[in-house]
């Protein structure tokens, strides 16, 4: 059977040239993160030995609420990738996370970050916080403290703690024990990967009750979370 050339030859030439350029583009354009591959790592770990993330952070990035492990879902991909890269480089430290991050390649980090940025899940039911503590936390989060020269957390972390992507993480719905422990790490100078000393300086002006209060406040803020992340009944 005789094949029929259905396109004018000039157009074929144009397609060939376009395809060649597309190929050239593919070689120089930055790699697009692969969230599906990220999901694989979350569930199964990597051949290089990184354990599955879900062991601690759960498949959907929403662990048990004990606060030992932070919730990861809906965090900006840039922020997540930077934290993993900092763990890998040792500019953020953790005996648990550093060895794991060192087993991840830059591409794997990007894929994981893309996956968790797009993940979503209902939050676990948590014990009702102390209303007085929440009120004190709200004051600090929204207005700051003039006597201590502490500006409102929301200046950077966004209205309602929604975050200021891509660099500044949301705090809304984050587990209080995790926020407390991170603020303590900032205070002791163990965590210092803020780039311009914005966090490490500020946190020196907070006392134990301030830290407990902001953590309690942000844990119960839900307005900035994806709609489906309402607490499980």
């Amino acid at each position: 059977m005789r094949t029929r050339n259905i396109l004018p030859s000039g157009m074929i030439l144009a397609i060939v040239i376009a395809a060649a350029f597309k190929f050239a583009d593919a070689q120089t354009a930055p790699r697009q993160p692969d969230a599906k591959h990220g999901a694989d790592i979350v569930a199964h770990g990597t051949a290089a030995g990184a354990p599955p993330c879900e062991t601690c952070h759960s498949v959907n990035g929403n662990p048990d609420g004990s606060g030992t492990f932070p919730r990861l879902f809906a965090l900006p991909a840039y922020y997540l990738a930077k934290q993993l890269t900092d763990y890998k480089a040792g500019t953020r430290t953790s005996d648990i996370m550093q060895p794991i991050a060192q087993m991840l390649s830059a591409d794997e980090i990007a894929d994981l970050a893309a996956f968790y940025a797009g993940a979503n899940a209902p939050l676990p039911s948590l014990a009702a916080p102390d209303p007085a503590l929440v009120a004190a936390g709200q004051q600090l989060a929204m207005a700051g403290n003039a006597a201590k020269a502490v500006p409102a957390c929301n200046n950077c972390h966004g209205p309602g703690g929604a975050g200021l992507p891509p660099t500044i993480p949301p705090l809304a719905g984050q587990f209080a024990p995790y926020v407390v422990s991170e603020l303590q790490l900032w205070q002791r100078g163990i965590r210092k990967n803020d780039g311009g000393a914005q966090m490490s300086d500020l946190v020196q002006r907070l006392d134990e009750r301030d830290i407990a209060a902001v953590a309690a406040y942000y844990q119960q803020v839900k307005s900035a979370l994806p709609a489906s992340a309402a607490p499980a009944k």
């Binding site: 929204m142 207005a143 700051g144 403290n145 003039a146 020269a149 502490v150 500006p151 409102a152 929301n154 200046n155 950077c156 209205p159 311009g196 000393a197 914005q198 300086d201 500020l202």
Partner: protein
Amino acid sequence: MAERLRPVDAVTIGVGMTGSILAKELAAAGLKVVGIERGAGRDTVPDFQSPVMHDELRFAIRKSLMMDATRETMTVRANVDQTALPLRRISGFLPGTGLGGSMVHWNGQTWRFQIADFIYRTRMEERYGKTFLDPDLAIQDWGVTYNELEPHYDRFEYLCGISGKAGNLNGQLQPGGNPFEGWRSREYPTPPMKEAYCGALFRRAASELGYHPFPMPSANLSQPYTNPEGVSLHACVYCGFCERFGCEHYAKSSPQTIVMPVLLKNPNFELRTGCQVLRITLDNTGRKATGVVYTDAAGHEFEQPAELVLVTAFALNNVRLLLLSGIGKPYDPRTGEGVTGRNYSYQTVSSVDVFYDESVNINPFMASGALGTIIDDFAGDNFDHGPHGFIGGAFIGANMSHGRPIEFHPTPPGTPTWGQAWKDAVIRHYNHTVTLLAHGSSASTRGNYLDLDPTYRDAWSQPLLRMTFEFPENDIRMSAFVTDKMLQIGRAMGGKTVAGAPAKRPYNATIYQTTHNTGGAVMGADPRTSVLNRYLQCWDVPNVFVIGASAYPQNATYNPTGTLGALTYWVADALKTKYLRSPGPLVPT
């Protein structure tokens, strides 16, 4: 009839930068000081917090932190043959109101003037001859020298925690700094801010052309800092909401973040806000001030007796208050006689836009008010003016202070000014344009001056200040020269289109240019040509000191705040070590 209050040692009229520093110094020295502020009290927490503070419409467009033009404003004209009309909205320049004054809403560009600036007439005549200057120029020497002010510049910069890189440490040039600057006794208190991408592009092009780029000195701090008063500032987050806004982060030097916490704790100091000073009262000799008369927010009039009156309002308001109080003979441009109101000057600015293709991402929103990369090669006394026929100059640089959505809309020449084509061009160019600025000097002339308006009055029935100003021909020529240099750098930066124009007549007071209104109550060595002696003390009324950019006999290339900070400490020093020991004229007449 005004209610007479208990006498105090000193009163400051205005509690902004100069008022708060001087009040702090005098209260610490044991004087009873009352600070009278026309606006409201305010502090970083709660008044400057987000999300309210990032309301661009409210603060940048409607100018919520500026003086209220429905209560007091000024009238403007270009020359004595015109009838001045009142500015119904504050737009061409932005005097602030409220505790902390204009240093709350400033950008934070903190410069020193050049050694030559303080001996300007002497230096220009010496370098170019007496016939070189345009005959209408009224430039003068300041009566104080850079060497005398250096320790006070230093003290002010350390109060603020200025972020920068020294170019000249005790005469030794320093790599990375401004090689043209006057000597400084030590390095800046904090290192420069992180360079913006627009600054990096400018740095490369300027270096290739043989110029000397360096980071702009910034009062938006690169790192946390605790000043000698024990007050701490945080590091800047580069949010791009500086000028026209208060800083929510405690990262911009303002009275609230550098000195106010110490001042307000001192029981020798009393702050009165919402109080409008109407005039300084004089005794029947006219040679001694007895205090001030002011109206509080409820409209009650008070007389506050004081041994010492410090006029520490915005430059224009300082001059107006002297005129309203009959201090100093008003200047008459027809005869050249009189002092109060003479040598009003401004700043001569122009800009160039460098439009790139879409592969170059500028991210102008990652900014601060003083995040800039600058060259000083064409500023002030730094080059030979002989072949060019003008004096003065400009610093040139990329210091994009913000990328705010309502105000920042660069479009290339030929773009329609409204409609879909304009919108498309804004989207196309928003993130791919670098704006360069030439920030130029302003020579004083015989014709530019301030006086009281014969017609228009404020909410308290007092005459408004009348501004008579046009750009001097000298400065128009200067602007053409420096704008040409700026266009040359812009083309070397690799933009597809480079567009800009020098400053032109007529001066338009309805378009924002700068808030660097200077002169009108100038300092000097000769009482016939200055209101104040070298200690900013009134020649005619020695217990009145007038501290503001109103003291500048002409404006130099640079933003005036750094020099005003130095003068403030210079005055504080003179008060504490000379005047308080023996009140009276500090310079014999």
